[in-house]
Symmetry: C2
Subunit: 640 residues, 2 copies
Amino acid sequence: MALVKDALHIPLSRAWEILEKSVRPLPSVRSSIGECSGRILARDVISPRNIPHYNASAMDGYALSSGDTPGALPSSPVRIEKGRFVWVNTGGEVPPPFDGVVMTEDAFLTEEGDLSIVKSVVSGENIRPLGEDVLSGSVIARKGDSITPVLSALLAAAGVGEAEVFPLPRTLYIPTGNEIAPLGEWLALDPPPPGRVGETNSLLVKGYFDRWGFPLDVAPCLPDDPEIIGAFLEEQAPLYDMILVSAGSAKGERDYTFEVFEQRGRPLFRWLLMKPGRPAAAALLQGKPLINLPGFPMSTAVILWSLVFPALQLLSQGSFDREKVLSEAALAVGRTDVSLLQTYSSSRGKEEWVRFKCAEIDGRRRGYPLPSAAGSLLPLAEADGLALFPLESAEKPRESLIPLMLLRDVPWRERILFSGSNDPAFERIVTFARKRGGDIILRSVGSLGGLASLLRRECHAAACHLLDGTTGEYNTPFLQQLFGQDLPGIRRRLLFYRLQGMILKKGNPLNILSVEDLARKDVSIINRQPGAGTRVLLDYFLSRKGIPAGSIRGYDVQCATHFDAANRVALDFADAAFGIKSAADALGLDFLPLAEEPYELVYRIEYDDHPGITALLEALEDREWREEVDRMGGYRWPEE
Amino acid sequence: MALVKDALHIPLSRAWEILEKSVRPLPSVRSSIGECSGRILARDVISPRNIPHYNASAMDGYALSSGDTPGALPSSPVRIEKGRFVWVNTGGEVPPPFDGVVMTEDAFLTEEGDLSIVKSVVSGENIRPLGEDVLSGSVIARKGDSITPVLSALLAAAGVGEAEVFPLPRTLYIPTGNEIAPLGEWLALDPPPPGRVGETNSLLVKGYFDRWGFPLDVAPCLPDDPEIIGAFLEEQAPLYDMILVSAGSAKGERDYTFEVFEQRGRPLFRWLLMKPGRPAAAALLQGKPLINLPGFPMSTAVILWSLVFPALQLLSQGSFDREKVLSEAALAVGRTDVSLLQTYSSSRGKEEWVRFKCAEIDGRRRGYPLPSAAGSLLPLAEADGLALFPLESAEKPRESLIPLMLLRDVPWRERILFSGSNDPAFERIVTFARKRGGDIILRSVGSLGGLASLLRRECHAAACHLLDGTTGEYNTPFLQQLFGQDLPGIRRRLLFYRLQGMILKKGNPLNILSVEDLARKDVSIINRQPGAGTRVLLDYFLSRKGIPAGSIRGYDVQCATHFDAANRVALDFADAAFGIKSAADALGLDFLPLAEEPYELVYRIEYDDHPGITALLEALEDREWREEVDRMGGYRWPEE
């Protein structure tokens, strides 16, 4: 069956309309009270019992008739005959005709077995009467209420042994792809061969289902073969309420999933106007929803939130709340607005998911977007919040307010935003600052970029290693230029010296022995971004040796971190890169030392008492961190 | 071993200090990546692999050398010889020496097997280079991070098969008490005999452990016997990291738990300055924490939050955050301040947990406390939020701002607060209003109380059935007195007529046949609270018959709802009560009809467009609701 035209390249709202029309709710089910924790009630619960279900004594004491007690006082005790009172424990029944309880402290037994009391009792005193907490016949929980731990205990106490709850749809997840290695095999491959991809999406999908409280089965991975996929779908459809098929969703040579949907079922829609998440599709097979998840993990997450969770709501309770469904699906813990730290250009004509890191700076919540690759989960794992930019949005200027779904509790008060030069040793400090009650987020923008952020009050702290080509002096000339001669309001702290030099291929096959060799025709380099201290160092050496930058092959090709640069040398994109020794060491590359440079922390005096800054300063003294850094190599501590 | 003095009757902060000193963290454990969803990382994770781990094509196309492509344009295609290019699928490897990929759309194969391209390619184009998403050697997750679905997939993609995580302490929960019926037995008892209590606390405890993500075993219920409890504890202690003992914590005749703690272990503290939750205690046995939970369910919940969850944090990660631990433990979804709708007197010298219902009225978040009984879970199940009033707080006047931990997402915009007369039929409307996107919370304050609330703008809507003794007219005279002759700004809506009369014991053993009979010496009644329409009706009949209120036995004994009144008749506390037929019917009591009264909804015109009001008005037409009400008996619909 072919798709109608308005079901191709559609916005999410249209996909939801189609799902709402096509996906029928499953009938509600009765579930025993011990098994239905977390489920949603499908109807009101009327209490069948009173709580308590009898007149219960509220304390240890003697049950008696209040009419026997008037006038009892310490000065004139009243004696109550044997047989006209009875001992009751806390929670025990006050049997008729008794209508009150006297505390042990106000009564004692005489030798004759009578009771002498020093306090009169009114009718109902120290009794929890039948139905005091819950009256039989009253509504104790309503349709739509979640069965919390408290509610399940309450229902059981009221004698409710089973509750009618919304069903848990059974879902099957099917990974597909010739290139996919099952998880166990993937983890054992060391290194995995090129072209193989680990079947890790099922962890993502299963993880979300677990958190949502819905069951999920994971099928073995199927090859890119429409016959096999189609036959498997038809075989499994009777056993499940929904089936998810991963990958095969684009328009490549081996992408068959939608073809199978069309051949075997009734297609509902294909392609969302969404980034990432575009190559998604849905169909009905034997009346059950089929959803095609894109293969890239970030796209998978997006489609889980956007289509799968709403479909689960439709199956289990017949509807979903358009305003809340996405933040529930993404497991958001709240909402906040942040003001953009940089201009963001989103794709007009597409809804776009953007991952943000946030910090509070000078009392304002600020945020910046993380890289947007569909293939990568790292930005999502690191994100504090998610924004879904609507179809019509285009460029958002700096300072625009962005509404975020918060994915974690951001420690606004304790967190500092560090912007500056990338350093693998400093990267490790975060855990040690957290141990001391602070939090740090690291934004790699290069030495100059960090100082500029600090100047614009767009971070709390920066770090730099900037060589002034004229004076040969590090950092100070740049700081003075930005902040003024005496650096008013600025604190500096030398963290360590690190060895800079040339990162070269293992064994140095091109025999590069000096900066001059970079000008050779057979040598190409990878450079760092403008403003990076490492690029400044390269420029310094080039100008000292009189080598024009234009004569260096690859001078204009950039990357953003030491590791990135070293990686590109390792993978033959370049023969040499400027960078630090620890990056070369980590990848087993050769290294030609050229300079030892000071790596300096810079922040504003007014943040002296910021919990993030104090934690950072303390963490810098942490022996465990220093030992880690020593093991990395290429670092030297300043003399104390 | 006996307790030191400063460990008796202590505030929570002191109990925490003692736990922090006494409870040692368990060693961290390695857990396979498929098993550690939701766990907390015990150390930083450094990526052992690059993602991607090879140069991957970003699309279906031809891998080639960028150096072969300059000048390619639709008008002047460039031909690339067989052998100098290779087909790649999306995600496939771009093998060396190739450094770019041309899209299929920009290339076609010639008959000779060469490739003709119409677009030049730069180095790296359409390639996801090795390490683009994650660089090997970089920190991808940190100690203290929770392993979300996203993070577990990311770790697996990076080749991390096991993570070092904080341990899950093994906890045993032991119910005790001679009066306790196991859950299955309890649910089967119909009716349960007086004095028996269902073992429902284990559902509460297990429910919280499940939500917290910690395992829990539940032991069979032990009798109130110190020898048996003590021997069982010593036998189980080697198998668990923590043991919880329920009940036996007060100072009654059968309360042995602390005695056992003292005899067998090292007691840590007893009695908290907390309400509810006072009878709690802790000890160490074989180095393992023992915690005594009070038997009352609300007190159990409070001690789970206050002591058990913090102890789990200490066992699993060595510390807890004092500011956040209670709201995490109570599964709070957020925080908000509400302004009190009524004065609240809390107990000076005790920390007090108070359960609140909330609504937004005229743009302000308001709240009122629910009943505070330690024995009842209903107020906790109904609560929107929790406050913990500090030791030193006493009376909080109306309008005081109270900081709440929110236990659910309150639909502030959709919710109305209804204050007024209690009616079992109207009570059922909530579910039908929710179905229409509104929400209603019901506060029983009587007819007059509701109108006064509406006047003070402390609710959105009220309902009344108030008979004016002088005119015999319902409602209007009272409304005019409060809101002015023409009722400016007020809307009224007659909901139904209901049958009022006398609720009498089954079979009417005292042969009560008229209001006059209430004055008999052998007859006692239960009355409703001042301001209740039902009390007004009683007063009307008494005054018409010339019977002085003082001559009626029980006239001054009050209760708050029709069901409560009927219950007290059913349980022999009174012989008669004024109330509606449906309450008598529900409990199988006799009913003597005396009047049919209009039950009228009253609200302010300005709330006409409030989503809660519109949903309520629509729900009033719901056939399903009307059928339910018809089944209750004693109601008549106004003619349309």
